[in-house]
């Protein structure tokens, strides 16, 4: 390495590479870090919790370490009926969401409100916490919308996680957080995007996401290669759990031309009544139906409350 040219060359290489890295990494990072989280962004991060990909507390992506989204109809403390509101329940031991742990990510305004009025600093993993999304009377600078912030209802209202879960019917509890893990693990995002495009897609798939809609979400699972419809607002188009159940078990039951794989294996071993599901029998009867030997397809078994497909359906229906 005693050629003078190589010394010059190495320095030029270092300079060129460093310049390119600062333009593509440093400047965008400053820009993106300045974004203020929106109501949608708060809902997403509180629903899906710390992470939906691989994490130490959920190494096999079973949907562990996840919060529950609960529709609260009665005040968990007094038992009085109240205006229904969604609460995000982090039971004891569940990792807190990104915005609570790294609160600077919430952005200017939302961070102060969440810390001072929402008291998010008082949330502890050991005791669990219940979070709410609150509208403030402050307006976002460039839009005529109020700023939303996170409220730690365990601190402000004394709502204990267990008390919230106790007052709720099972149908009011959404396992959407664990469902996001299923969405990532099963590779739904290899065919379905979660990103209606800005230039088109408004009419069929709905409005594209805005700048603050992602803060605290990981992974975003945008998807890149669409082989099925966009799902960002699918819950607004079709919120029928029955349709979802048929479609996941065998998409060809409701859409004969679909190329989606069957997700019947997410039902697990048993159905809602605890009876063993006979997949082999179901498939042979379905084949007979397909060949025209019988006129109706076999019934799809109702999924168990704690099955993986319940999580996934909760996640999909919750995509409003």
């Amino acid at each position: 390495m005693n050629f003078r040219e190589y010394k010059i060359g190495s320095r030029m290489f270092g300079a060129a590479f460093a310049l390119s890295m600062s333009i593509t990494l440093l400047f965008p990072s400053y820009d993106l870090a300045a974004s203020v989280v929106s109501e949608v962004g708060l809902d997403k991060q509180l629903t899906s919790g710390w992470d939906s990909g691989w994490q130490i507390k959920d190494p096999w992506l079973d949907g562990l370490n996840k919060p529950l989204k609960v529709l609260v109809r009665k005040d968990p403390k007094t038992g009085e009926p109240m205006e229904p509101v969604y609460a995000y329940v982090y039971t004891a031991g569940t990792s807190l969401p990104n915005g609570v742990k790294h609160h600077h990510n919430l952005g200017l305004g939302v961070e102060e409100l969440s810390l001072n009025q929402g008291r998010i600093k008082e949330a502890k993993i050991e005791d669990g916490a219940v979070f709410l999304i609150k509208a403030s009377d402050k307006l976002l600078d460039f839009e005529d919308k109020p700023l939303h912030y996170i409220e730690n209802a365990t601190a402000t209202k004394g709502w204990a996680p267990d008390a919230v879960l106790k007052q709720a019917a099972d149908s009011d509890i959404l396992h959407a957080g664990a469902g996001k893990t299923m969405f990532v693990r099963e590779g739904c995002w290899w065919c379905h995007t979660l990103l209606p495009e800005q230039t088109q897609d408004w009419q069929v798939f709905g409005a594209p996401p805005m700048l603050g809609d992602f803060n605290g979400e990981s992974p975003t699972a945008f998807g890149s290669d669409r082989k099925g419809p966009d799902l960002l607002h699918v819950g607004s188009r079709n919120a029928s759990r029955e349709w979802m159940m048929l479609h996941f078990f065998n998409p060809r039951l409701v859409q004969p031309h679909s190329i989606m794989p069957r997700f019947d294996y997410l039902w697990g071993e048993v159905d809602a009544d605890g009876k063993k599901i006979d997949f082999k029998k179901w498939r042979s009867e379905y084949d007979e139906y397909r060949e025209g030997k019988i006129t109706t397809p076999p019934d799809v078994p109702m999924y168990a409350k704690d099955s993986e497909i319940r999580n996934l359906i909760d996640f999909v229906v919750n995509l409003k």
Partner: protein, 469 residues
């Protein structure tokens, strides 16, 4: 077996052992990767083909195909080329044959482990950087860093005064791969979220192609064509232009993968303009290699390695015309997220780069094992199956993508797009299956070359001997 040298003294290991080990590993991974690709394609054409188990679900296998091909086939073929070409160009031996062998073994083991876990669904949920971060660190420690150290040390200990073009690329790309890999996975180590994470995902995906696969594949052509034809490289200066424009232009347009996401507008515009400038290194490279062929075009027909290399270089023309312009706003809105992109990605990895690497593996294995290729017929069959299979795939997916784009902008119900794409999905599966079968022939041919190929006398190149079968 080569494994017996793992604990031997470095001097006792025959020259080229690591490269041969890497070469055969690469072919086997190519077979696995394309086999998975063909299986996945079958599922897209016939959704009830092998159904109802988690193990054979499309969503569990798609990323295994992609990563097996990138880190198994392409990157191992690169390692093979580096361990073979770098010492030759420095008129020396590989710095450490032993490190090379360990590198290859650990590479195979960590890749096998990572892909098996991924197959079970253990993923970070980020395209191209799907490995969870402990595996990312294993990849850096066992795959990219030992390879880079071996390449750099061989270049430093060279016995020539100058450094040839190929070795600039090898040295720079191994360095850039380490940076890209460690920086691109920052969101996983530090739990960066939201748009930052999405942007970093595509920053990684863009740069692993732009700063690793494209330049190393090109570097191989810079060696193979002058070496086999005997012509000196047309222009050293155009080589400089190629090298510097890769570093400056190709490293910057990462944001053009997210043109319809709410990223800052300045970043998207900047990325789009820089993306067009990818044509600078592309034109420099293609013209330099094709002009080097002057007077030796007969070898394009007669010599297998030259044919593979030149076809790879010719495929770089549509690749970069697409790559330069499809990311501008005026075209991207139509084809983004459609099968067009899938076709383009296969043009880059299965077209352009695979043909160049195949040439390096053919030439390297023959040279290092001092055996002439066992059968030209099988070699030709491999070439044509690969080319026709790839073309079928590329054309059918491009058409499918254009249909999908039209469906997207006119917002027709998605199921009508699925119905319209069906014939092209079958064609894609047939093309992919042809590619897969060609790799079986290739592995057999190289295996038989090792066992029964004619011995090449000392001081002779493989292409100086006539083919026998």
């Amino acid at each position: 077996m080569i494994l017996k040298y793992l604990f031997a003294k470095n001097e006792a290991i025959p020259v080229g052992s690591a490269a041969v080990f890497f070469g055969f590993s690469a072919i086997v991974w190519f077979m696995i990767g394309t086999g998975l690709g063909s299986f996945n394609a079958a599922k897209l054409a016939f959704p009830d083909f092998v159904t109802g188990t988690e193990m054979f679900a499309f969503g569990h296998m798609r990323q295994v195909h992609v990563l097996a091909v990138i880190f198994g086939w392409i990157s191992m073929a690169f390692a093979m080329a580096m361990m073979y070409i770098t010492p030759i160009l420095g008129n020396t031996r590989l710095w450490s044959e032993k490190l090379g062998l360990w590198n290859c073994m650990m590479w195979n083991i960590s890749l096998l482990m990572g892909l098996s876990l991924m197959w079970m669904g253990v993923t970070s949920g980020r395209e191209y950087s799907d490995f969870p971060w402990p595996l990312d660190l294993a990849v850096a420690a066992f795959i990219s860093i030992p390879l880079a150290v071996n390449v750099w040390m061989t270049i430093i200990k060279r016995r020539t005064q100058g450094i040839y073009t190929t070795n600039w690329f090898f040295a720079a790309s191994t360095f850039m791969l380490i940076i890209v890999f460690l920086v691109g996975n920052l969101p996983e180590y530090f739990h960066l979220t939201g748009l930052t994470e999405a942007y970093m995902t595509w920053w990684f995906a863009h740069n692993v192609l732009g700063l690793w696969i494209t330049p190393v594949a090109a570097a191989i052509a810079y060696y193979v064509i002058p070496k086999v034809t005997g012509n000196p490289l047309y222009s050293h200066r155009i080589g400089h232009l190629h090298f510097w424009s890769i570093v400056v232009f190709y490293s910057t347009p990462a944001a053009h993968h997210l043109m319809s996401a709410p990223l800052p507008e300045w970043l998207k515009s900047f990325a789009s303009v820089e993306g067009v400038l990818i044509l600078v290194p592309a034109i420099a490279f293609v013209s330099n290699i094709l002009l080097t062929m002057q007077g030796k075009w007969n070898m394009f027909v007669e010599n297998l390695e030259v044919r593979f290399t030149v076809v790879g270089v010719l495929l770089a023309i549509p690749l970069n015309m697409q790559g330069g312009f499809q990311q501008t706003r005026s075209i991207n809105w139509y084809i983004h997220g459609t099968g067009w992109m899938v076709a383009h990605a296969h043009l880059a990895l299965l077209g352009f780069s695979t043909f160049l690497e195949a040439a390096a593996v053919y030439l390297g294995l023959q040279t290092l094992m001092k055996r002439k290729l066992y059968s030209l017929t099988l070699g030709n069959l491999h070439f044509w199956l690969l080319l026709i299979g790839f073309s079928t795939y590329w054309i059918s997916m491009t058409i499918a993508g254009l249909i999908q784009g039209a469906g997207k902008i006119y917002e027709v119900p998605y199921i009508d797009v699925v119905i319209a794409e069906h014939p092209y999905m079958i064609a894609r599966w047939l093309g992919g299956t042809m590619v897969f079968s060609s790799t079986i022939l290739w592995l057999y041919n190289m295996w038989m070359t090792a066992r029964e190929g004619t011995v090449i006398p000392a001081g002779r190149m493989p292409h100086e001997l006539a083919y026998e079968r």
